[in-house]
């Protein structure tokens, strides 16, 4: 697997946007929204690998975000660990947990898989709610600020660049993974598991791998969220958060890394933009989602990019060939 990708252009554009945004945004509230977009986008990119490419649904991903957040909070708060090792150890723990869970869970298909991941997310949420000695219970707990040696990471201006960099790394990792043999094997799994197995793809192994990777993305995002917000609460891991994350992926477009970013962007901004409508907020929100799903069932990015393409089949084949050439 080489770490070269044919469409580094998109990554470059994203980097430019991240670089110029702070000079456009009028105040820290907008920076805060941008940071939350970034953190959501990182989770969605990971989740998209699982949903969009491997075709496995997870309705419990907020659980991993919550574990990441609480792991960092507890290790830095209770045990006085520095933030970075705490984040890494938490991510490692989440990876292990996802690995152990993945084997039995990913044997299931369709509704059963959805139910199993849903159950997992709810169990995590219950643990966070009830183990009050460690987690502060339903009211949540305060989190230590992140320290880089002597320097305290605080405020939107600093966090913006950290999250921006993390988002670029996440996109880059995702694009490379998709374009590697692993990515192609995953797409084969999505297409037809039986066919993939006949072609010699060890489907279970790939599914487990991508489940672990997406859990780690969620955990790291959760750790950053905890330190940035200086507060964690069980809502971070709630069932509704999981649904929200899946909605972001589906709205932006499954099997599209940029789609995940776009989905996260829209669904993070929308509630803020609609906040002034008070009672109408939920209706407008629901209407937008419904219309998107009816008219763009594949999600925003894939549908729109298909519209602009003159001969979709040809371009698809071309990019496929390019992708093949890179490895």
């Amino acid at each position: 697997m080489t770490l070269k990708h044919p469409s580094t252009g998109g990554l470059l554009i994203l980097a430019v946007i991240i670089a110029i945004l702070p000079s456009i945004l009028p105040n820290n509230f907008y920076m805060d929204v941008a940071i939350r977009i970034g953190l959501n986008a990182i989770v969605c990119i990971g989740l998209n690998l699982l949903i969009g490419y491997a075709g496995q649904i997870s309705l419990g991903h907020a659980g991993f975000v919550g574990l990441g957040a609480y792991g960092s909070a507890i290790l830095t708060g209770e045990f006085g660990w520095p933030a970075i090792p705490a984040m890494l150890v938490t991510a490692l723990f989440v990876a292990l947990l996802a690995f152990v869970l993945a084997r039995p869970v990913l044997r299931l298909k369709g509704h059963f898989l959805a139910m199993a991941t849903l159950g997992m997310g709810i169990i995590i949420s219950i643990v966070l709610n009830t183990e009050a000695r460690w987690t502060g219970g339903p009211d949540g707990m305060a989190v230590q600020p992140m320290m880089f040696f002597e320097y305290m990471v605080f405020g939107e201006a600093v966090w913006y660049w950290i999250v921006g960099a993390a988002l670029l790394i996440a996109v880059w990792l995702s694009l490379n993974l998709i374009d590697s043999p692993v990515g192609r094997a995953l797409r084969a799994v999505h297409g037809s598991e039986v066919a993939a197995e006949v072609c010699g793809v060890n489907t279970t192994q790939y599914k487990v791998k991508v489940f672990v990777i997406s859990a780690v993305f969620a955990s790291v995002s959760g750790s950053m969220l905890a330190h940035y917000g200086a507060f964690v609460s069980p809502e971070d891991a709630s069932f509704f958060r999981s649904i929200e994350l899946v909605t972001m992926v589906v709205l932006g477009g499954m099997a599209s890394t940029y789609g995940a970013v776009v989905g996260a962007t829209i669904l993070t901004i929308l509630p803020q933009a609609l906040a002034r409508f008070e009672d109408l907020e939920h209706m407008v929100f629901g209407l937008i989602l419904m219309l998107t799903m009816i008219f763009m069932p594949k999600g925003l990015v894939p549908t729109l990019s298909a519209k602009f393409r003159r001969s979709p089949v040809k371009v698809e084949a071309e990019s496929e060939a390019q992708g093949g050439g890179a490895t």
Binding site: P26, L304, R309
Partner: protein, 387 residues
């Protein structure tokens, strides 16, 4: 290639949306005094946020009709944060940075309040929380105040009454929700100071529909002289029903969490004789005429009930107290300078509110003592005041 352009175009529009999408409603900061608020108007804590918001709206309108404050109109800026601490953080950033409010009154739940305290302290903005937990004001934070009684006070009030009755050892059965859990902790910590021993300590989940097993265990425990049930919502009503069915001979104590008519309706005849601490608002009409709070309580109750057609609740009363204290502080400070307003809020003394008579100080940002709670007993399906 075209695909790449599409991606670029999309990415650019994302940037544009971030910059422009939210700026809708970014009104020009003009003359009015801006009061920011973030409440749980929808979602599971809406029973808190809904009366709070209605109260703020009613009284902001009323103040404006009377010419405003310091000759300036009041403007209420509100965001619904449901039951989400993260939403509360974003709403507060928006209120501070974008709406540039002068003061914030809000935070229906303790979780939301705790999540935004660091932001308030960093922004140096006067903040009055409407949530219960004692941790909000202990230890004292410079810019943070609160109006509702704490669960610690409820425990103290209950234990005080138990001492009067000669009750020395009790059983506790607590809900595992945020309220029940917090109060259980406070009561456990406070019990030794009142010479009270907790001989049985049971819990139940927020969705449990039968607490007979826990209560049976309590019944079989030796030396239980009273049962205390810290909890919120329907749980305490079920506990009370089961308590009645099991034929307990000892008294039952509930918390201020059940201080609504709904509890009596749900628990039915089993609620006879149940004792609880509650704000005076519940028994406003039964207070003696010389009670200093009576006029305020009756006026708030009739205003709220005639404007909303809802039954009055203590939660809306907390918002009323917060708004009145802020307005009074602004009048004393002669403006909206944040530091001056904060100092004046801290100097609040002798304010007669729905929650009690408030005496704040540099070491007490709540300013209520145990007299703010009345001990009630349920008799003939209604609250009655006990001395």
């Amino acid at each position: 290639m075209i695909r790449k352009w599409v991606k670029k175009g999309l990415a650019a529009s994302v940037a544009a949306t971030v910059a422009l999408g939210i700026s809708y409603g970014n009104a020009v900061a003009a003359d009015p005094i801006k009061i920011g608020t973030f409440l749980s108007v929808t979602g599971p804590a809406s029973f808190l946020g809904d009366p709070e918001l209605k109260t703020l709206q009613i009284y902001v309108d009323e103040l404006n009709a009377g010419g405003g404050v310091l000759g300036r109109k009041l403007e209420l800026v509100h965001y619904d944060v449901q039951h989400d601490a993260k939403k509360a953080q974003t709403a507060v950033k928006r209120l501070i940075e974008d709406d540039k409010v002068d003061v914030i009154i809000g935070g229906s739940t303790s979780g939301q309040t705790m999540a935004v305290i660091p932001l308030m302290e960093a922004a140096e903005m006067p903040f009055i929380s409407l949530a219960g937990a004692v941790a909000i004001v202990e230890p004292v934070k410079k810019w943070t105040f609160k109006t509702p009684h704490t669960d610690k006070m409820a425990c103290a009030k209950i234990f005080e009454d138990m001492n009067k009755q000669g009750i020395k050892s009790i059983a506790m059965i607590s809900g595992t929700g945020g309220f029940g859990k917090s109060m259980r902790g406070q009561c456990t910590a406070l019990a030794p100071a009142y010479n009270i021993k907790i001989v049985a300590d049971e819990t139940y989940g927020p969705k449990d529909t039968d607490m007979t097993p826990q209560l049976t265990k309590i019944k079989n425990t030796d030396g239980v002289q009273a049962v205390l049930n810290p909890g919120f919502g329907q749980g305490p009503a079920i506990v009370t029903k089961n308590f009645g069915q099991l034929g307990f001979k000892v008294p039952m104590y509930q918390s201020h969490g059940v201080a609504s008519k709904k509890y009596i309706d749900l628990a039915g005849s089993a609620s006879e004789g149940v004792r609880l601490p509650a704000a005076a608002l519940l028994v406003a009409n039964k207070l003696p005429d010389n009670d200093p709070q009576k006029a305020v309580l009756v006026s708030y109750m009739s205003t709220y009930e005639s404007k909303t057609k809802d039954a009055v609740s203590t939660f809306g009363g907390h918002a009323y107290d917060g708004l009145q204290m802020v307005v009074a502080a602004m009048q004393r400070a002669g403006g909206t300078d944040k530091a001056k307003v904060r100092d004046e809020i801290e100097k609040t003394s002798g304010y007669i509110g729905t929650g009690g008579i408030v005496h704040m100080s540099a070491t007490d940002h709540l300013g209520l003592d145990l007299s703010a709670f009345k001990m009630l007993e349920i008799r003939n399906g209604d609250w009655s005041l006990i001395k």
